[in-house]
């Protein structure tokens, strides 16, 4: 059972290895001429001003919060969908109630304007 995951472990090492080797090769053969102008943040030729880590729109944060709710919902749906045929009507009704509650929440956030970006 668990040995079917061994190839994934090996693959993980190789996938990261490809990246690491490419970077190492780059450091070996590429020139390195650092220069204060070259190493300053790119801002279309202007002098970089202020810190780049400015305050950002709260809606990005809101999307991330909503994502957690919905992604959890998807995680609950996966095992249910696999055994749906064995669960029959009971399983469907149970999930319909669960989905119904989430849809109410979804409608609420829609009406509240949490999904507006204009």
């Amino acid at each position: 059972m668990l040995e079917s995951y061994l190839p994934i472990l090996v693959f993980l090492a190789i996938a990261l290895g490809v990246g690491v080797i490419a970077l190492l090769l780059n450091f070996l053969v590429a020139p390195r001429n650092p220069d204060p102008e070259k190493l300053s943040p790119y801002e279309s030729g202007f002098e970089a001003f202020e810190d780049a880590r400015l305050r950002f729109d709260v809606r990005y944060y809101l999307v991330a919060i909503l994502f957690i709710v919905f992604d959890l919902e998807i995680a609950f749906f996966f095992p249910w969908a696999v055994v749906l045929d064995e669960l029959g009507a009971t399983g469907f009704v149970a999930m319909a109630i669960f989905l119904g509650i989430l849809v109410v929440g979804f409608i609420y956030e829609w009406k509240k304007g949490a999904l507006e970006w204009e």
Binding site: S4, Y5, L6, P7, I8, V10, F11, L12, I14, A15, L16, V18, G19, V20, A22, L23, L25, N26, V29, A30, N33, P34, P36, K38, L39, S40, P41, Y42, E43, S44, A48, D51, A52, R53, L54, F56, D57, R59, Y60, V63, A64, F67, D71, I74, F77, F78, A81, V82, V83, L84, D85, G88, A89, F92, A96, L99, F106, W110, L115, W117
Partner: protein, 351 residues
């Protein structure tokens, strides 16, 4: 003479697995390289240009030249950047983009004199769940790249890309649930087997809304046009990888194209019957299954390029509206439809 136990039990299997993985990754890298040249040529012809035609015969050595150039270019480390995070970000991008290929089956289980052979690296029963988990990792690369570079364009680009990728991941996840409800398995190989037969058995017909949502979400997930506000050349230059150069940039580039091919092959596997020929009769069945799979993958890759040549870039509010207010309701409705139909004689349509 007996081999030491550890060699027979560990070293040999790992060596064999390594050979298999290299046999997958090397052609994949070649496919990525040639996808870039096909993209440039195709879009060139769509815009009545010729595209690259100088390096090698008809420009076919162009990707080799591009790769060498990127290898020989200086990788820049901005003074204000957080060096550690800055260097890890491209690795976190390319790693998941390659790792996801571990569970992609390329053909049916073949009966050989050595037993059953399935052309897949890791035969995992929950391969779809694994895929969802691994592909969501790619977002860390994008966010970390934008934050670590400490450049305004980079941070704006990574914020946009992050919000966009997680939004479309929800729609994608719901579309997958529809597929699982129809196939009752998380194993991609078994999902393809569940679609055995001619094209009328494939899931793109009964799950048509989910098929459309899945593929378009895939385009948005990979930040390709018309969803590429995270890179938006005309406003934020190159988005989250604006400060990257040389090989560090090349890794993001490789990851993006590997993900494009991944989305295409996944759509072919889950909705277009994978390696099954469109009609189960003589001239079609002569072509081996893996060839059909690659042909279908090529079709979706063509769509990727066609979209890029055809559609102007969406505004950000349009992207978020499409994801949250169109795709998520559509998938929720269709999941309910499948669930209800499952309890009626109509269930045969979805199985």
């Amino acid at each position: 003479m007996d081999l030491p136990v550890w060699i027979a039990d560990y070293a040999l299997p790992v060596a064999w697995i390594t050979v298999q993985i290299v046999a997958l990754v090397a052609p994949l890298m070649l496919a990525v390289a040639y996808l870039t040249v096909v993209e440039r040529k195709l879009i060139g012809y769509m815009q009545l240009r010729v595209g690259p035609n100088r390096v090698g015969p008809r420009g076919w050595l162009q990707p080799i030249a591009d790769g060498l150039k990127l290898l020989l270019k200086e990788s820049i480390f901005p003074t204000q950047a957080n060096k550690g995070v800055y260097i890890v970000a491209p690795l976190l991008s390319i790693g998941p983009a390659l790792l996801a290929w571990a569970v992609i089956p390329f053909g049916p289980t073949y009966q050989t004199p050595f037993g059953e052979v399935t052309p897949v690296i890791a035969e995992v029963d929950v391969s779809l769940l694994f895929l969802l988990a691994v592909t969501s990792f790619g977002i860390y690369g994008v966010i970390m790249a934008g934050w670590a570079a400490n450049s305004k364009y980079a941070i704006i680009g990574s914020m946009r890309a992050g919000a966009q990728m997680i939004s479309y991941e929800i729609a994608m996840g719901f579309a997958l649930i529809g597929v699982i409800m129809a196939a009752n398995t998380l194993n991609i190989g078994e999902i393809v087997v569940a679609q055995s037969g001619g094209f009328w058995h494939w899931y793109f017909l009964p799950l048509l809304p989910l098929f459309v949502v899945f593929f378009i979400s895939g385009v948005a997930e990979t930040n390709r046009l018309p969803f590429d506000v995270s890179e938006g050349e005309s406003e934020i230059v190159a988005g989250f990888h604006v400060e990257y150069a040389g090989m560090t940039f090349a890794l993001f580039f490789l990851a993006e194209y590997a993900n494009m091919i991944l989305v295409s092959i996944l759509t072919a596997l889950l909705f277009l019957g994978g390696w099954h020929p469109p009609l189960p009769v003589a001239p079609f069945t002569w072509i081996p299954g893996p060839v059909w799979l690659l042909l279908k993958t090529a079709l979706f890759l063509f769509f990727f390029l066609w979209f890029r040549a055809t559609f102007p870039r969406f505004r950000y509010d349009q992207i978020m509206r499409l994801g949250w207010k169109v795709f998520i309701p559509v998938t929720l409705v269709w999941i309910t439809v499948i669930g209800v139909a499952n309890l009626t004689p109509l269930r045969a349509v979805f199985h």
